[in-house]
Subunit: 337 residues, 2 copies
């Protein structure tokens, strides 16, 4: 009997400790208490509570995250664009005929003011030239090498350090509750896949992004290869995000996080499902700790890559939640606790 009694006591103690640990562990320690944090917690609780009519079966627990400006810093320039601009000298070295051709000439000049003025068609030419003409494996190796060496100009840290710690916590919290977290980005799928597993814990098959065509062929020695072509294929932005989600996942997410006009349709599509659906927009309103732009600065609606006032108004009207970096986030980066 003594043995049983002791074991019983130990078991009871274990249960009590676990319950306390559970009650005391804040799943979102980098978030300030308030309605936004509470909304995330309520969503997870209601969709994973077996007794709730809004319980979501584990296989349907899908959460979609935009990347640039939602999971990491996008200002003053998308990291992938920095990468592409820095690849231009190597591309021109291989194709000297581009040296005096715009927009490559401007990029090579190093004139930052002129580079900042490049138009979208210019940037598309640069993307096409620097993201193609090599095998998928060669591209992966180039991105890996660049990421290991490159530093952002403000914090002087690897770009992969510029992840928003509060959003990483949301991903971890969702995964701990049976959600699969997908990145659904307007950025390049192959680019993001190179670091998403290490940085976000998101494996390659859970990265949906903009993709150029790839072409199947054979190397000189007969080895089958996939080559990246300079032709757009899946434009995973704006209305393309629900399209990409349907193509790659085939399920409507229950939660979606974004920060710009390019995420509007993904959030609408997510919210249009039945049951409890979470749609949230990150508002960049913290000029001191990060940046302030979008509705926080009342920029014109047409500004690319930003959070237009009309989206802010739509979010408020439709009951989406706007995450204020300034007031909702206790800390922003893991390196600045």
């Amino acid at each position: 009997m003594l043995v049983h009694f002791k074991r019983g006591c130990a078991l009871l103690a274990l249960v009590v400790v676990s319950a306390q640990a559970f009650a005391q562990t804040d799943p979102l320690p980098s978030w300030n208490d308030g309605p936004t944090k509470q909304r995330i917690i309520n969503f997870v609780q209601v969709t994973t509570d077996h007794a709730s009519p809004k319980n979501v079966p584990p296989e349907q627990r899908i959460a979609a995250f935009d990347q640039d400006g939602t999971l990491w810093v996008e200002h003053p320039m998308y990291t992938q664009l920095v990468y592409c601009l820095e690849q231009v000298p190597a591309v021109v070295a291989k194709k000297p005929e581009l040296k005096n051709v715009e927009p490559f000439k401007t990029v090579l000049s190093g004139d930052k003011a002129a580079i900042a003025k490049l138009t979208m068609p210019d940037l598309e030419k640069i993307l096409a030239a620097t993201l193609s003409g090599m095998t998928v494996e060669e591209f992966n190796a180039q991105v890996k090498q660049w990421l290991a060496a490159a530093k952002d100009p403000r914090w002087h840290r690897p770009y992969t350090d510029l992840i928003y710690q509060p959003m990483r916590e949301v991903m971890l919290y969702l995964r701990a509750n049976g959600y699969r977290t997908y990145i659904v980005t307007g950025g390049g799928q192959d680019f993001v896949r190179e670091y998403a597993d290490e940085v976000y814990g998101v494996p390659p098959e859970q990265v949906v992004g903009t993709a150029g065509e790839t072409k199947y062929g054979y190397a000189k020695d007969g080895t089958p290869i996939l080559t990246k072509e300079p032709k757009p294929f899946l434009i995973n932005d704006g209305p393309g995000k629900p399209v990409g989600i349907h193509l790659v996942i085939g399920r409507r997410p229950y939660a979606a996080f974004g920060n710009s006009g390019g995420d509007r349709q993904m959030l609408e599509y997510t919210r249009a499902g039945d049951g409890s659906r979470l749609a949230m927009l990150v508002l960049h309103d913290d000029a001191k700790r990060e940046y302030a732009y979008g509705p926080a600065q009342k920029l014109p609606d047409s500004k690319i890559g930003t959070f237009p006032q009309s989206l802010y108004d739509e979010a408020k009207q439709k009951g989406w939640f706007v995450i204020s970096m300034k007031s909702d986030w206790k800390s922003i980066f893991a390196f600045e606790p």
Copy 2:
């Protein structure tokens, strides 16, 4: 001590029973013993043995399966094509102008000999007309309804009964060993997704298939919808299979199963990876229990959807395995044990 002794005995008994159960359980009971079955078992053992230099980390354990002719019957006509032909009257009822236009006129005539002679461009017109013009959800509902009622003409059973039991066992065996099983089909992604989970245990996000464009828009009441368009987007066949695998999975499979020329590149691409890679082709050589075609009947190389002699020769030369339905499979269907 008595307590400990008893518990020790119980534990030992448990270990012995488990080891016996393991040794006695045949993971592939519908397969005849022989080199093909042994090759599958060896592949699984070597890639999941932590002590083996060929051990594959769990997250990289990907297996790709063609569907038509590899997982279920494709002869005399792809099931999805039967579906499309049977949708023609409904499409013409909505668009009466198609009534006297070919190839719809021939399909409406019910003349089986004439229908069998329709060309690929004819069939493409039929696919485009019957697989578009509705929302994704409407299409899913139509397929579900059709599958519940339709019977194949030979076995008089639902098409979803015509799954090869030996291949289902391979999928189960791989999954029990940490592999994720993907369907990589030239057939329609949305079509296959409708039943793949129930029939194969393959969830929607693990179905890579041929996909038409989808268009994001709004219903009259403002609800966001995805509409299926009559324009091809991802042609997941032949060289398109490695392309689709890269787009949706982003990892090279360790095992691939196919049965036709449309699987050649997927098998080549799979085999070109390092470590132990499995590439297998199902040969339809059992006219009695199923059908005999391809190299079993020495059909001309150009015959669509079949296993050309050149692929058979390539498979033998490269050390791929050819699965003989006649000699390797003890039983073919679950309903004919």
